[in-house]
Symmetry: C3
Subunit: 497 residues, 3 copies
């Protein structure tokens, strides 16, 4: 009977989930004070935070974990942060002097915008890697590149038609912030203060230009780059969410970078969609096969993976270049991945800040060489090989490399026709001082490399997404747009006769 009791007792414990007796989280006095008002005023974010690890584990506890399960990469954590869970005050009062948006709020020095530099307190390695990531430089790489700015202007400026003539009105910072910079990140600056009547009486807050924004390359008020919240969404900071493809979809839905569309239609995406309800997205380290049976974006590009024996499959990296030999996003051709995250330093043979030139050449000194690409390929294939035999992976990769070359050749044809149209004065290109991206026929050309060649390459890279290589912004549309350019050239020749 004692045995029965013991079993019954065990059952009760399992049923009630008492095995892990966490107890109450240890809140700092400051955080407790924050919650006093904000739990009522902002229940959404407070409840999100309560569901987070930040809300239930102290950095001191997190530091004691060893091996691949360790989530805190800093060697040590400031003592005053060590023994309380990571609450409101822990992040929003950190490094007050370096944040121009610090303001007095009920006796506390609060800053609105928490930056990756703040996160460094516990997550030093991730912050450091991410700062070298191309994405961290997404603001400057767009705003400080003259060629890209021509495209930005062609897209964001407001067309004006007056007295029978076409013109444009410059776009406003408000437009930029929700257009390109929504993903690339805005540059934040404090422009003043505002005083408001609130439920708690009159209060003064900083006014921040460029806010709100969680773009991957946001320029923060403390001068740091990026927003961790781009992927680790506030205030739950859920690793589960960062590992799911919906997070990457926010900026990679396409058609320019159609990663999510392709993934969803791929075999991997099908397995994810059909079966992920039974997977574990929170385990660290992440075990191939046990925790998940098909990769998400994170599994191939960032996450630390182990096999069922706990052996490392591939190490974590917040610098995506580590696993990317190629950049298949055409500018205007696909090319070896840039060496440095700051791509404004690149010059092609025409002197433009582009990784390739219009005639198909690439700005080699600025791009990964063959040996560097081989190293990145090896890192990427490590995750493939956890499920697939080398023959499978080789077969896949051979097609991928072929597709990069073939799609580049198609764009060479289209660009050749476009050059001819520019030469004949049928559009005003960059060499005659025109914007090469603003006229109708120029858009037919930019469609071909910005949407269709990219789509074809993403479908190839991800080993699936069949339609995206063919009829869904794929080869059908790629050849269609090139034939459209040809049609325009033919018509002008006919007209001449």
């Amino acid at each position: 009977m004692k045995v029965l009791f013991a079993i019954a007792w065990a059952a009760l414990i399992v049923c009630f989930g008492l095995t892990e007796a966490r107890g109450e989280p240890s809140l700092s006095a400051a955080t407790e004070e924050c919650l006093g008002c904000h739990a009522t005023i902002h229940p959404g974010i407070v409840e999100s935070w309560k569901k987070s690890r930040h809300g239930s584990v102290t950095p001191g506890q997190a530091l004691q974990v060893t091996g691949f399960a360790k989530k805190v990469s800093s060697q040590a954590v400031p003592e005053n942060l060590s023994n309380h869970v990571v609450g409101c005050a822990e992040c929003h009062t950190l490094n007050p002097k370096s944040h121009p948006d610090t303001f007095d709020h009920n006796g506390y020095d609060i800053h609105v915008v928490v930056s990756p530099r703040d996160c460094t307190a516990c997550h030093a390695q991730e912050a450091e890697q991410y700062d070298r990531n191309l994405m961290a430089h997404a603001y400057g790489n767009l705003v400080n590149n003259d060629v890209y700015q021509l495209l930005v202007r062609a897209v964001n400026e407001t067309p004006v038609f007056e007295k029978g003539k076409m013109g444009t009105k410059p776009s406003t910072p408000l437009t930029e912030a929700e257009s390109c910079l929504y993903c690339h990140g805005t540059k934040l600056s404090v422009t003043g203060t505002v005083t408001r009547d609130t439920e708690m009486g009159e209060m003064t807050f900083p006014v921040i230009s460029g806010w709100p924004n969680q773009g991957v390359g946001r320029i923060n008020l403390d001068g740091s780059r990026g927003s961790c919240a781009a992927c680790h969404t506030r205030h739950q900071f859920s690793i589960e969410m960062a590992r799911k493809p919906y997070t990457c979809k926010e900026c990679h839905v396409g058609p320019d970078v159609p990663a999510n569309k392709v993934y969803e239609a791929s075999k991997h995406g099908n397995i994810f969609s059909s079966l992920h309800k039974d997977w574990n997205f929170a385990n660290v380290p992440w075990t191939v096969g046990k925790d998940f049976t098909a990769p998400t974006c994170a599994a191939c590009h960032m996450s630390l993976l182990v096999n069922t024996e706990g052996t490392l499959v591939v190490k974590r990296s917040h610098e995506v270049k580590d696993r990317l030999p190629w950049r298949i996003f055409g500018l205007i051709y696909a090319h070896a991945h840039p060496r440095e995250p700051d791509t404004t330093i690149i010059r092609n043979k025409e002197g433009l800040a582009l990784p390739t030139d219009f005639s198909g050449g690439s700005a080699d000194p600025f791009l990964l060489d063959e040996k560097e690409r081989a190293a990145a390929r090896k890192q990427m294939q490590a995750s493939c090989l956890a499920c697939h035999h080398q023959s499978w992976v080789d077969g896949h990769w051979e097609r991928f490399v072929n597709t990069i070359a073939e799609s580049n050749r198609s764009i060479l044809a289209g660009t050749g026709i476009m050059e001819e149209l520019w030469k004949r004065g049928l559009a005003a290109g960059i060499r005659t001082g025109g914007n090469p991206f603003d006229e109708y026929i120029e858009r037919v050309w930019s469609d071909s490399w910005l949407f269709y060649a990219n789509s074809v390459r993403f479908a190839s890279a991800m080993g699936g997404g069949g339609d995206y290589g063919v009829f869904a912004d794929g080869r059908y549309q790629l050849t269609r747009s090139i034939r459209h350019l040809q049609d325009r050239l033919d018509q002008s020749r006919t007209a001449k006769k």
Copy 2:
């Protein structure tokens, strides 16, 4: 030992879910008779209904609930409905005289099409609000508007090419029913009866023209407007389903109203997709933070929300105008929301039943004024403020209002060119008796406001969906289509020379 027993006992109860002893639902005799056959013949809908609240709670019980948890808004419920669960007979035999499709079915007066007026028995407030909702008027607003009918005809009529000439064949009611009226709703009418050999012997049923349909503005046989099943899908009538974005997607997948596409790619949509498996979609009232940590369509536009202390955040409304200052769907420009749900009464300065005129002006007397818009904005922002600070919301709103103005200016440019094309006879516009929506170049123009400007505005309004403001039917495509119009104008000028 007694304690152990007590705990064990508690565990059993939890394990077996016996805490809530519902017992057998109390079926009316009539419903029991329905189920006798239909449980076998139509297992799909009968099982759906069994999973519904209708199938397990009586109106009498529902009436006893007080406060925000109350689901039945009628002051009282007819006595004969009060003590049985809401089964087949309760709805399909209600108000038999007012339903022209009422027919004798095994001795019962059954009607096929249950209408919002039937639902009024228990849900009076929702039915009343919905009848004032723009959506309830979706049939008449489309069918009785001469300008919209020009677009409908241009889209639905069958092209004919005979003897080298282009013409059209009028569309049939069958086409209309599955094209525009699938969402807008059909007008139902009884056209006769049909006798069939069934498993249960020979039976006679009404024949209903326009059936099946669950469009939001369906004209029912009893003269009422709308179909509750458009969102509260039969026969589970699940509030969970109405609160999930998939329901709104049925009609708002775009590209004309790309709400779902934008949502799915937004931060809110990402949180929903990644985390909603742990949320509660059935609780009434719906608690921000506890039940969900990011809004769905319903949360912002319709649902009653409370904070974690049970205090009202925003009240329920089935009239979407209550939270909508602007109508960002361009007709042909975005404009203040119409005052009345019947928009056929609107006249612009050209006398057309359009809320704006071709030169950008708006039909002000028919649209919300500034004060009314401020009230609607306040209702909408109430849900924003449950998670976001006022500074955040202000920053977002400033961009949104700017985008409405900028996108309207872009459409003004495109329409200016189109007017020029009409003037030059390069297309036949409305002023020369033509259909302004049927020719190829006119479609380039309608693309610009019907798809692209809308997409830009939805991405702005929903504070996310980056690509939908840029490359995915966004500003890139908006400027592309306007440049296409310009290209056509330029070509005609060149040809003239």
Copy 3:
């Protein structure tokens, strides 16, 4: 007290899921040896397999199941396979002589590519049905059809622009494999062997051209057709996955066959997306209402369905024609479904291997006649009728048949204009030896039937997806492309004057 104990005991059993005492799976010695290495090297697929029925049930056990729950359709199973679970060796060493890729691997005759003929050992009926399925013939039907090959070449060949002239470079087998043949299936062949240094020492493997691939019509090394893994994804072979719409999406995401897009925006798709977390996708047979309350692709097209009393609603078929009277994918018009799965035998009145001719006629002798279509319609409607009354289904079907006719008429108009353009030499059509699918204006024409008419028909067929019948690749785009053709014709007439 004994009673309490008994209840507690029962609770424990339920809590721990001990009711079904499976015990350890009985592995064959060979499979055990495979797992010795591959569990570590390929944890992804080994863990997938462990979650499969193959990994826990022996064919002998499966054979004992009777009635609709039976999953193994072969009358008997080879004795050596009967008493072990279906592990690595059971499939990858089956019929070694018929597989040219069989190679010696640690003393075993292993083949890489398991074929439907291997699966026949247990699943004879499914393999036999599938071999008669149109999909099993997808490779030959594409590759051996001269007309389709013109489209394939127009899409896959690389455009070349040299010395002011447009040309093309033939596509490579690598491109074909990831373009059309990704879904249609590649033709596999062993081209040699490769020796590699592996973690386990030097090993030799076959090199297989066309690999990897899981297209529905793959030509296997043993000469059989198809890949069961196209839908029953290795190595979990989950019926749950095959029944979910994500599987079909891999090849039917559109815009050519926009089934998934339409489904997701339909009422059925909404119910699936909103509620399927509570459904059972693994039960065999699959009970309408109890296991699911809205159909997925499988429910309408393939699965065996029963009602809640266990009575057959519709029998299982791996030959989709059994429930498909029409083929609504336009080639170039929608038409009665082909009789034979090998469609290369079809000849239209112009002698082309097309089910319809350019002037709208259909190659009747090769297509289902009215009586055969009626039989297929009855099978299809059987699943509709499990939830909907006959009046509902009739109303739906009437619209569907009307839409097939109307959309065909629209395509007749567009094709009429295209014929005129060919006649006038404004493009080079098939009768003058040209490729009718490669020029820009020809693509405007192929858009109309390949994307837009198809979208309209799928939205109709699936009784939903409103926007897909109108603004999302629907009637708006269909009429737009036909007006575009007309515009080109008008312009050429104007130019002539």
